[in-house]
Symmetry: C2
């Protein structure tokens, strides 16, 4: 059982996470996470792993499970987000494991650092967001830099994991430089350390000052998008209701409709594109206007207009799930 324990307070663990640890005979994890749940560990075999032993941690888990023990391998946050789930499966496959071989694997999801830190600062993640690790221990720097550049340009909210360590002090400076070429210097940034733990520390700053903030191994950095604002000590990213509604009356603007795509949504945009092209705008011109690849514009114009299901039910503005 690969268990995400959440931010590290018992309150914010799921029932399944607690049950999985309670069911286990053997609990394995990095020493900091073992400490976070030590009240649950009475009577169990505890294997504390230290740094740079992630692959060994997964091997120990498999060996114990093959010997018939129920094993909980714990990660902070969510085990699938820069946690042990991926490395464990890689080790399992390498060792010839299959789902039918008698050792079952369960991933127990938890709130990742980005969700926990976001909850402590307001509502920064409301719109499209991404997570990027600034750790180049396993990933070449140009790959990381290209990702930082892409999401800065495309106006994502960005959560930086592993932003800085004793040795890795320059990566956050590079990230700042890449972002400043696309975002305003006063873009809100939240620096969150140890969310929901005893030593929690939250600092609001801006992109221009991000690299000077007190950032360490237990920190998550949240960079707002171009609409994110800070008010009354809370960092909030708008969902976009103002694109459709008057925020006082809650009436839809002229031409917009509750439960329907914006006039500038896909269908409206396809119409506008076709009209512009028919009236003489070249594909290159349109690609530049919308900052989209010319190949995409061309392919889209070549498609027949979509048939719309007129009687389909309204949907809500929020997530459907």
């Amino acid at each position: 059982m690969l268990v995400g324990i959440g931010p590290g307070s018992v309150e914010h663990m799921t029932q399944r996470a607690r049950a999985a640890i309670a069911e286990a005979d053997t609990v394995i994890g990095y020493v900091t996470y073992i400490k976070l749940v030590q009240d649950l560990l009475e009577g169990k075999e505890i294997i504390r792993k230290s740094m740079t032993e992630e692959l060994d941690r997964a091997v120990s888990a498999l060996e114990a499970a093959r010997a018939g023990r129920r094993v909980a391998l714990i990660s902070s946050g969510d085990a699938g987000v820069y946690g042990m789930a991926g490395p464990t499966y890689e080790v399992l496959f390498q060792a010839g494991w299959t789902p039918e071989c008698g050792v079952e694997v369960e991933i127990v999801p938890g709130a990742s650092a980005l969700n926990s830190c976001a909850a402590r600062v307001g509502a920064p993640l409301t719109h499209d967001f991404c997570a990027i690790s600034l750790s180049d221990l396993l990933t070449p720097w140009p790959v990381i830099a290209r990702r930082l550049n892409a999401v800065a340009a495309a106006d994502f909210v960005v959560a930086l994991y592993n932003p800085k360590s004793g040795r890795r002090t320059r990566q956050i400076v590079e990230a700042q430089r890449l972002f400043l070429s696309h975002r305003r210097p006063d873009t809100p940034v939240a620096i969150v350390k140890s969310a929901y733990r005893r030593r929690e520390r939250i600092e609001f700053t801006t992109l221009a000052q991000m690299s000077e903030a007190d950032i360490g191994m237990l920190t998550t950095v949240l960079i707002g998008n171009s609409h994110t604002f800070v008010r009354h000590g809370l960092m909030v990213t708008p969902r976009g209701y103002a694109n459709k509604y008057d925020m006082d009356s809650h009436d839809a603007h002229a031409g917009e409709k509750a439960g329907r795509s914006l006039s500038t949504g896909l269908l409206g945009w396809l119409d506008a594109l076709a009209i512009a092209h028919a009236s003489g705008d070249s594909i290159a011109t349109l690609a530049e206007r919308y900052d989209l690849p010319a190949s995409y514009i061309a392919a889209t114009l070549a498609e027949p207009p979509p048939a719309v299901a007129q009687e389909a039910p309204l949907e809500h503005e929020e997530t459907g799930a």
Copy 2:
């Protein structure tokens, strides 16, 4: 209390989420989420909101809280991810609320759909990932398209929220087109509906066939990066251990070191960049070689080489938090 209830099974709610709902006098939410937690609702005032009433839902919450009631406003997954946290704060600010006015606000984090769905298919999120909503009800299509294009090009794992509805059937086709211009057609894609709920359904497909899959309002689509693979029915994205380690012996490759940046990490890359530039490669050439902005290459070359803290402790390959 803005409560993220997780994927919708009681097991996967956090203790704080359950406690918050138990503490509440009034529970407000979209009718599907209210149903998911109805065993906790005995004796409480329940306000079921239907679609397109998100702003009203937030207003009802504020009115009830101002009248002295403890209010739980529930979202599936995490309230901060395309959930009620952002819209609620916007409504609160609009209504003149401040943190000192007597109505306290707490965001209770939960596992978002991307974490829950990922846990059900393997370990797809292990590396840098993002979430994009295909809903154009509040967001113009070109904004969404630019984001899809940027993350496809920069090789993120991508979770698509709100991928399709009764009316919005073309957005997923457009997303597929944008991705296919950057990713292999056989890129693994997982289609996950109602994770951890009674009607859970999981389908593995590829990018080439993504738009034909059975996708609806309760579906999250997970698109792998260029290294993601499917094996024994599990979708796994490597963390990059193979960049540093031999996966049989777990020995580091020649020139690499456990707990240290890769030779192609930032410092090694800066060295290589400086050497290439000094030996005659132009900034434009280097920008093209690494697919990074020329302005970034130029600014980086203009910086003095960083001082490295030689005695700093090793760090682990996984997340520091």
